[in-house]
């Protein structure tokens, strides 16, 4: 049953990604990207990593997708026109794919059987974040707060 689910989700994710790359209207492409995000989150659910899947939906569908559509809306005057075919984008995509394939082929773990691990619960992630990884967590927090304040400073009205 897992392999059936895997195939269904894979088809959905790839369809979303292909649509995002080829649809003529930019807004349709952005919305298709959301389908690909949801498919990726479904993969994490299938693997038992609920937390990662939920965070993916929370951050990418809830925030990043809204950010993307608003960016398109606020910066393009002609949202609906055909944007043509972008060869530099194809080059970047091929380069990323080549890099990923190279990295995957270099890893050793593909050959060995998956070890028995205890299920990744939210509690365990929380404990690890608060003990071993507390400094990286705090640094990311400070960085994000700085970004938030920076954005506010940028849009603040200048006092005459």
């Amino acid at each position: 049953m897992n392999s059936v689910a895997f195939a269904a989700i894979a088809v959905l994710t790839l369809a979303g990604a292909v649509a995002a790359a080829t649809l003529p209207k930019l807004m349709h492409a952005a919305l298709s990207l959301v389908i690909a995000f949801v498919g990726l989150a479904a993969f994490f659910f299938l693997l038992g990593a609920e937390f990662v899947g939920l965070v993916l939906i929370f951050v990418y569908v809830g925030a990043v997708a809204v950010l993307i559509v608003f960016t398109i809306l606020l910066t393009r005057r002609d949202v609906a026109t055909d944007r043509g075919f972008n060869w530099s984008g194809v080059a970047v995509a091929i380069a990323v794919l080549a890099g990923l394939v190279w990295a995957i082929s270099k890893t050793q773990s593909l050959a060995v059987a998956a070890p028995q691990i205890e299920p990744l619960t939210v509690k365990r992630i929380g404990e690890l974040l608060m003990t071993s990884y507390v400094w990286p967590l705090q640094c990311v927090g400070v960085l994000l707060t700085a970004a938030l304040i920076g954005a506010l400073v940028l849009v603040m009205e200048e006092k005459q």
Binding site: H28, I57, K123
Partner: protein, 396 residues
């Protein structure tokens, strides 16, 4: 006897699944079990939606000194059926320049998000439709897709009113999502779990023999619940925060270009979202399905949950009948300058409560923390005009 009434729905489901379990493979039983949950959930909440839609009109009519719907059936109780038939046979008008696919998908997505959020709430003892380890996170993750659906409705309609209404709706939803999530954080911290069942279980029992251990009866819990309720009002676009809709300014906001059953779907999603937010509030702060007094525990757990839900919904309707609406800028200022700092104060106050021993001492200290911040905020944000000589500004 008490136990059999309490578990009657769980028993019925087991009885339905028993013949299947002996013949069919495990995955089929799992799918059947999920389907039973889904149909039960839809049946209960769509009926509740129909009932609440007529009750809301009745209560609003009572508040405004008129009769309300009273033609269809006894006391107008069959009004939702008449409304449903009317909505179904209405012509579905799609604007010629609208984006057909996006326009069609928006109501489906918004309803799906609202219904999915209902799935993780414990409705009674052993009555959580879908137990997810990070249930609270699932609720908010699903809820955050609503913004995208509202955007799709606004953009797909290709109408200025729709787009402006969607912008307003998304702005207030994003702003209030932050206090909504941060107010749940103290409870997650104190319980140490994101699982709704664990959070409800942690609120069982009675302090001093009669005060239930619901989190709303602690200083930080009371404040957090109030903030949560106000954020819930905004998230479900209810009065006094219903600026995304306004007949005299932007028609029906992102729903302007929807008619017939698509409009009804938006309407339904709004109500289901209200039930879901109230259900989460009950789970997190109001003790879930626990009875308020130990002598009342013979009443089934699901009855308590739905009793609390109806009280909360009544308050929603009451607020709608009583308060005028706020302006857009007032909503935003309130979110970022008051709600968010108070929500973070609740997190700190709950930590103080925990480390001061969860007793009277913790109660007092967390109260002091909240009172200090509240006083400071109310002084700093005071915008009342001071008496001064009048100044005139002329157009140049």
């Amino acid at each position: 006897m008490t136990d059999s009434f309490d578990q009657i729905f769980v028993r019925i489901k087991q009885w339905l699944l028993t013949p299947l379990a002996s013949h069919a493979p495990a995955w089929l039983v799992q799918i059947a079990s999920s389907l039973i949950n889904i149909f039960a959930l839809l049946g209960v909440f769509l009926t509740l939606f129909a009932l609440v839609s007529v009750l809301e009109r009745k209560i609003l009519a009572r508040i405004q000194n008129r009769y309300g719907p009273n033609r269809v059936g006894p006391f107008g109780l069959f009004q939702p059926i008449a409304d449903g038939i009317k909505m179904l046979i209405k012509e579905d008008i799609v604007p010629a320049r609208a984006d057909n696919i996006v326009h069609f998908l928006a109501p489906i997505l918004i309803a799906a998000a609202a219904i999915l959020a209902l799935g993780v709430i414990p409705y009674g003892r052993n009555m959580t439709p879908f137990t997810i380890d990070g249930g609270i996170l699932f609720f908010f993750a699903v809820g955050s897709t609503t913004e995208l659906a509202v955007f799709m409705a606004g953009w797909g309609s290709n109408n200025k009113f729709s787009m402006l209404g969607a912008m307003r709706a998304i702005a207030q939803m994003i702003s209030y999502e932050l206090p909504l999530i941060v107010t749940v954080l103290p409870v997650v911290m104190i319980v140490g779990a994101l699982n709704p069942d664990t959070i409800v279980a942690a609120q069982g029992g009675y302090a001093l023999g009669f005060v239930p251990r619901w989190f709303v009866f602690t200083p930080w819990g009371a404040v957090a619940f109030t903030l949560f309720f106000v954020s819930g009002l905004v998230e479900s676009n209810r009065t006094p925060f219903d600026v995304p809709e306004g007949e005299s300014e932007i028609v029906a906001g992102h729903m302007t270009e929807y008619s017939g059953f698509k409009y009804a779907t938006f309407f339904m999603a709004e109500y289901i979202g209200m039930f879901a937010i109230s259900g989460l509030g009950i789970t997190v702060f109001l003790g879930g399905w626990h009875a308020p007094l130990s002598i009342l525990e013979f009443i089934p757990s699901y009855a308590w949950f739905f009793a609390k839900l109806s009280i909360l919904i009544f308050v929603y309707i009451w607020v709608r009948g009583t308060l005028p609406r706020t302006r857009v800028d007032q909503i935003m200022n309130f979110a970022w300058k008051f709600m968010l700092p108070m929500a973070f104060t609740c997190v700190i106050a709950s930590a103080v409560w925990h480390y001061a021993g969860r007793g009277l001492r913790g109660w007092l200290w967390s109260f002091v923390v909240i009172a200090t911040v509240y006083t400071a905020l109310s002084i700093a944000l005071d915008t009342r005009r001071k008496f001064a000589s009048r100044t005139y500004r002329f157009a140049e």
